[in-house]
């Protein structure tokens, strides 16, 4: 073994060096995609669901590109001829290439598992890692983990071997890479065919899933052996001395004469008149070479068009699950079409022929894209035609199939093409271009899609954002147009990349522009202010010794569910249906039995239920003021609500202060009602009046709640746990937090700092009798952003007027979304004034 390694160290080193750029590119692309995934907004569920499997794609992509690099590239650059002129046997060469690629595939898998481990650490797989797809498309619950593990690894090895076969068999690297795609799916096709035959023979009988998955594994294993043998044979043919007949056949195999069965001796007819336009000559040149590749690309696009449109057609409509794979295949084909623009006859050396004859770079550029214009135009027409036929068919499941509008499909396809042609022009290695193009397209599209539209909600406005989006969309095409002269003059590699750097910088900068503008206009507090805040928060946290009890139960409003109650001793119990008692007294017994001793936190749903029940009792009393039972019920509620408000004030959560305010408002409103005036002497009413009159501690409680809520947020953020609540408010319900992936990442912590700071500023201003308008405007910008204009928002003077205030406090949506919106509003000032007067 060691001797073998020493003897072959040169060859092994060469193969490893050739594979390093591919491996590095794949890991770099994978990490970028993972970063994009991490930055994606939480509401893009589909993306977040699939994005976590990015590491699994890396070994597969490596398997596709490995043979193209180690075999296809060597054949293209003819280095294989120099290599075979040395004393090294073909068998040894083939074995070493295969062994190194297999070992590198193992390294890719190790890297893949390391990345999955990182994802597990950041909580991407809450229920543990599971393979997303399996060879026979069954879900993993039906299969052992070992079989799933083997299937994935074996299938990448199979793809690697397929790559070797196509690279040795097909001289054109591009065509070789495309030919891998149908071969990669061949074992699945065989498995499905076998299953169909079995069903035809024995009917729709149950088959043990493990047996079927093992059968699929066996098919992949057999396919690996068969394709491996074919690859070996093809390689030996290439590396052995060429025979006259074979060479003759190879050279002419794909010529039109051979395809149409014409004699090879038949001379090619040369048109009498030359092309009068360079662009037309370029168009002719576009499909003069690489015909097999072009055919493969066209087939892929056709499959995509059918997949996207044929949901209603008799056959295709029945296999909706394959639709997304077909659409993916189509978009991949468009990406390949982009790379195709600058390969083969689009290579710099070939374009130089035109360039040396005075063709302008614009004409060269246009000539290279005319083919794509034709292909995409034809695909669009087909899309329209098949779509119309498909939609006109009457099928039960037709309406469940989503067909993207033609405009969207064209926009998407043009973008895929646009970015891919840029990659094709800039990156030298074909296999790297073919892998990088779709990956870069996905990454850039998702990043910009998540970030750029946010510009419309910032100070730069919708018009400039739209203009930036248009510029960004067409930038790859503009970039290749601008670098066309250098490209056609033979500038390649780093020099060409250097020429593309300004365009690349702009391409990256445009999506970042809205976030950057916003960052500088965002009301971020200074380091000194934050430090002061931290100091106060720590002090508030340490001085708060009262234990806080959480109140949570399911309200029975509108349903028949059994309430699940938290008892004061911390245990949970479900109230039996027959024992339900939603009276205030009962609730008081359950929740407020030790009300004087402990503080309370009440989750918004529970509080809404309590408030609804209390309001119901109030409505019943208002409707029948002389009904003793209704009065007793309302008094019970008054007592419970008073107790609850007193328990909520010590809570460290901001939302509980707003809950307490809502109770005070509710109690005040009840006491002020005409129907209740004759009952003001009752104990419950007396207690309620004391609650209203006691406004002294409110400001301190709110201040303490803001500080400790902020403290808790920071503690949770620093611990790595998902911090999605501030002071009991779900921050995901704030429009201000949805600023795209990058904005969310940039502003999340700043936002909470700033909200806490401005809530405290609001309290300070109001305590000193000053206007809190500026603080409220800032809070509006932070929380509501541009969703509402300030004048109509929850922090506006309009919403804090007498009457509107009470409505806002009793309104669930307002109360559970906007912290401190009603602090020192008209209702509170009126109560305070009354208390002073009394």
């Amino acid at each position: 073994m060691t001797k073998g390694l020493i003897n072959n160290r040169g060859l092994i080193w060469k193969e490893v060096r050739q594979l390093v750029p591919l491996v590095a590119t794949l890991f770099a692309v994978g990490l970028v995609l993972m970063l994009v995934w991490q930055m994606s907004p939480a509401d893009m569920r589909e993306m977040r669901q699939h994005g976590r499997y990015i590491p699994l794609a890396l070994p597969g992509l490596f398997a596709v590109g490995a043979a193209a690099v180690t075999v296809g590239q060597e054949r293209d650059q003819k280095t294989i001829l120099w290599l075979t002129s040395m004393p090294v046997s073909p068998g040894r060469l083939i074995r070493i290439k295969l062994a190194v690629c297999t070992a590198a595939l193992g390294v890719m898998w190790i890297g893949c598992w390391a990345l999955i481990k990182i994802e597990l650490m950041v909580g991407a797989f809450p229920g543990g890692f599971r393979f997303p797809f399996l060879p026979n498309m069954n879900q993993e619950v039906f299969i052992t983990r070992q079989v799933a593990f083997l299937s994935w690894h074996l299938h990448t090895l199979y793809i690697l071997v397929c790559g070797f076969y196509t690279s040795w068999r097909i001289k054109n690297s591009f065509a070789g890479l495309i030919a891998i795609i149908p071969l990669a799916f061949a074992p699945f096709a065989v498995v499905h065919l076998g299953e169909s035959i079995r069903r035809m023979r024995v009917g729709l009988t149950f088959m043990d899933p493990v047996t079927s998955d093992l059968a699929a594994l066996a098919v992949t294993l057999a396919a690996t052996v068969i394709v491996g043998a074919l690859a070996w044979r093809a390689a030996m043919r290439v590396l052995s001395p060429a025979g006259a007949k074979k060479e003759s056949g190879d050279a002419n195999r794909l010529s039109p004469y051979a395809v149409f069965g014409l004699s090879t001796e038949t001379p090619r007819r040369v048109p009498d008149q030359p092309f009068r336009s360079t662009t037309l000559a370029m168009l002719r040149q576009s499909f003069g070479n690489n015909r097999l590749s072009l055919l493969g690309i066209l087939l892929m696009i056709l499959v995509g068009v059918i997949g996207a449109t044929a949901g209603g057609l008799p056959y295709f409509g029945s296999s909706r699950s394959g639709g997304s794979v077909q659409i993916f295949c189509g978009l991949l084909g468009v990406c390949f079409l982009g790379v195709f623009a600058f390969t083969g006859d689009g290579r710099a050396e070939r374009l130089r022929f035109f360039s040396d004859r005075g063709a302008s770079s614009a004409k060269l550029w246009l000539g290279r894209h005319l083919l794509a214009v034709g292909v995409l135009g034809f695909a669009s027409l087909l899309y329209l035609l098949v779509g119309v036929i498909s939609q006109s068919m009457e099928r039960e499941d037709r309406y469940y199939v989503y067909m993207p509008p033609l405009t969207l499909a064209i926009l998407l396809a043009v973008y895929c093409y646009s970015l891919s042609q840029w990659v094709g022009q800039t990156v030298r290695g074909l296999s790297i271009s073919l892998i990088l193009a779709p990956a870069a397209t996905v990454a850039s599209l998702l990043t910009a899609g998540a970030v750029l539209p946010q510009g419309g909600m910032t100070t730069i406005g919708a018009f400039i954002t739209l203009a930036l989006a248009v510029l960004w969309y067409f930038l790859p095409l503009i970039a290749t147009l601008l670098s066309m002269r250098a490209y056609a003059d033979g500038v390649q590699g780093r020099k060409l990349v250097a020429k593309s750097v300004p365009a690349l910088a702009l391409f990256v900068a445009i999506p970042l522009f809205p976030s950057t503008v916003e960052y500088f206009s965002y009301p971020i507090i200074t380091a000194a202010q934050r430090s002061s805040l931290a100091h106060q928060a720590t002090k508030a946290k340490t001085s708060s010794g009262l234990s806080i009890h959480s109140i949570t139960f399911q309200t029975p409003i509108g349903g028949r569910q059994l309430p699940d109650v938290n008892r004061s001793d911390g245990s949970k119990s479900a109230v039996a249906y027959d024992d339900r008692n939603f009276s205030a007294a009962h609730l008081a017994n359950v929740y407020a039995d030790d009300a004087q001793k402990r503080g309370a936190m009440c989750d918004p749903a529970t509080f809404n239920g309590i408030l609804s029940l209390a309001s119901f009792a109030k409505v019943q009393f208002m409707h029948s003021p002389k009904d003793e039972h209704a009065l007793a019920e309302l008094n019970d509620w008054m007592e419970t609500m008073t107790k609850l408000a007193r328990r909520l004030r010590p809570s460290w959560r901001v939302i509980d202060q707003d809950h307490a305010d809502a109770i005070v408002s509710w109690v005040a409103d009840t006491l002020a009602s005409d129907q209740y005036q004759m009952h003001l002497d009752q104990p419950a009413a007396q207690a309620a009046q004391e609650l209203i009159a006691d406004t002294q501690g409110w400001s301190d409680a709110r201040r303490r709640a803001v500080l400790i809520s902020w403290y808790q947020w920071n503690e949770k953020s620093q611990s790595g746990a998902p911090a999605d609540q501030f002071g009991g408010y779900s921050i995901d319900s704030w429009y201000g937090i949805h600023r795209g992936g990058l904005g969310q990442w940039l502003f999340r912590n700043h936002m909470i700092d700033s909200i806490a700071f401005h809530l405290l500023e609001l309290l300070d201003a109001e305590e000193q009798g000053q206007s809190s308008l500026q603080q409220r405007k800032t809070l509006h910008e932070l929380i509501c952003r541009t969703y509402q204009v300030f004048e109509r928002g929850p922090y506006s003077d309009r919403a804090r007027r007498n009457g509107a205030s009470q409505a806002a406090l009793l309104n669930t949506e307002t109360r559970t979304n906007y912290p401190g919106a009603q602090w020192y509003a008209a209702w509170e000032k009126e109560l305070t004034q009354n208390a002073i007067t009394d």
């Binding site: 040169g10 280095t79 120099w82 002129s85 004393p87 006259a244 060479e247 050279a251």
Partner: protein
């Protein structure tokens, strides 16, 4: 003397084209053998067969008593080969490619390669892709010579080299031959071949037109300039073994390239009525090459010898 290369009636047919039409060659050990021919004459095909890259349609070939089709590996171990456009790994450095190739040869390979590279003054740390065309050719030559091969096969070896390096290289070929090694080269550079080659073979239309030691070849071909009283004066047919390779008229001057010309023929021409003078001149290898590789079929003289067609601008 042993033949290091022996080919017999080698034929190679590609689609619609006969690249070789029965090539028989014997190359002796310790010689510099030059295979000359115009573009498309079949030189590269012949070399590909010799190096085991191509199987002939028919005929036999042996290199160092080995069959290239069966013992290609052994032949490649003992020969050095530089193709007309060597495709080296351009991402490797000059030193790296030497180290890489050294792993396939004996221990002496690397020191010899490094010495050669130093002699050519190529920095070892420079990437192949950053070398000039001439520097690449030097690296390719160094790689092919570093294992001190018994037979060196070179296809257009000096293409891209500057005159100084070309001279050094050619002299090293003479040294190799002197040390018993054999050099088989194909080239268009007649002046250089003339300086170093021991034996010349001229390949034309897939056939060997002539294969002789350089001195013999040069001695056997003569240009004869004849002054006539009248352009219409007919000249006598030269007797065997004379072979007229080309003939041209300029007014009353007639010029012929004749193989195997001797003094008796001079008298025959000089005594002809209407001939006022006959002068002979030795030809350079380039002129001999042009005379042998004329495109048109030579006309047959009365005695059976080929007679070239006379066209303006020279014998073609």
């Amino acid at each position: 003397m042993n033949h290091i290369i022996e080919t017999s009636d080698l034929k190679m047919r590609f689609r619609g084209c006969d690249a070789l039409r029965g090539v028989s060659l014997n190359v002796d050990e310790g010689t510099v053998f030059a295979l000359l021919g115009e573009n498309g004459a079949g030189k590269t095909t012949a070399i590909r067969i010799l190096t085991g890259f191509q199987l002939p349609t028919s005929g036999t070939c042996r290199i160092m008593n080995l069959d290239p089709a069966k013992d290609a590996l052994e032949i490649r171990r003992r020969t050095g080969y530089v193709s007309d456009a060597p495709a080296l790994y351009d991402w490797m450095g000059v030193g790296e490619i030497g180290w890489f190739a050294a792993t396939l040869y004996d221990e002496q390979f690397l020191p010899r390669y490094q010495e050669s590279i130093r002699r050519y003054e190529i920095p070892e740390d420079r990437k192949i892709r950053h070398l000039s065309k001439g520097q690449r050719a030097k690296v390719a030559l160094s790689l092919s010579l570093a294992h001190d091969p018994e037979l060196l096969i070179l296809d257009e070896p000096t293409s891209g080299l500057d005159p100084m390096v070309r001279r050094d290289f050619l002299e090293s070929m003479i040294d190799r031959a002197a040390s018993g090694r054999t050099v088989f080269l194909s080239s268009h550079q007649m002046a250089e071949v003339e300086r170093v080659a021991d034996v010349i073979a001229i390949l034309h239309n897939g056939k060997v037109r002539v294969c002789e030691p350089l001195d013999t070849l040069k001695d056997s071909v003569t240009e004869v300039a004849i002054s006539l009283e009248d352009p219409l004066v007919a000249l006598p047919t030269l007797p065997a073994p004379a072979e007229v390779l080309g003939e041209q008229s300029y007014g009353r001057q007639r010029s012929m390239v004749v193989r195997h010309y001797d003094s008796a023929m001079h008298d025959l021409l000089a005594t002809r009525v209407g001939v006022t003078g006959v002068a002979e001149r030795a030809l350079s290898l380039e002129e001999i090459f042009i005379a042998f590789t004329g495109r048109s079929q030579s006309r047959k003289p009365v005695d059976g010898a080929e007679v070239p067609m006379v066209t303006e601008g020279g014998v073609v």
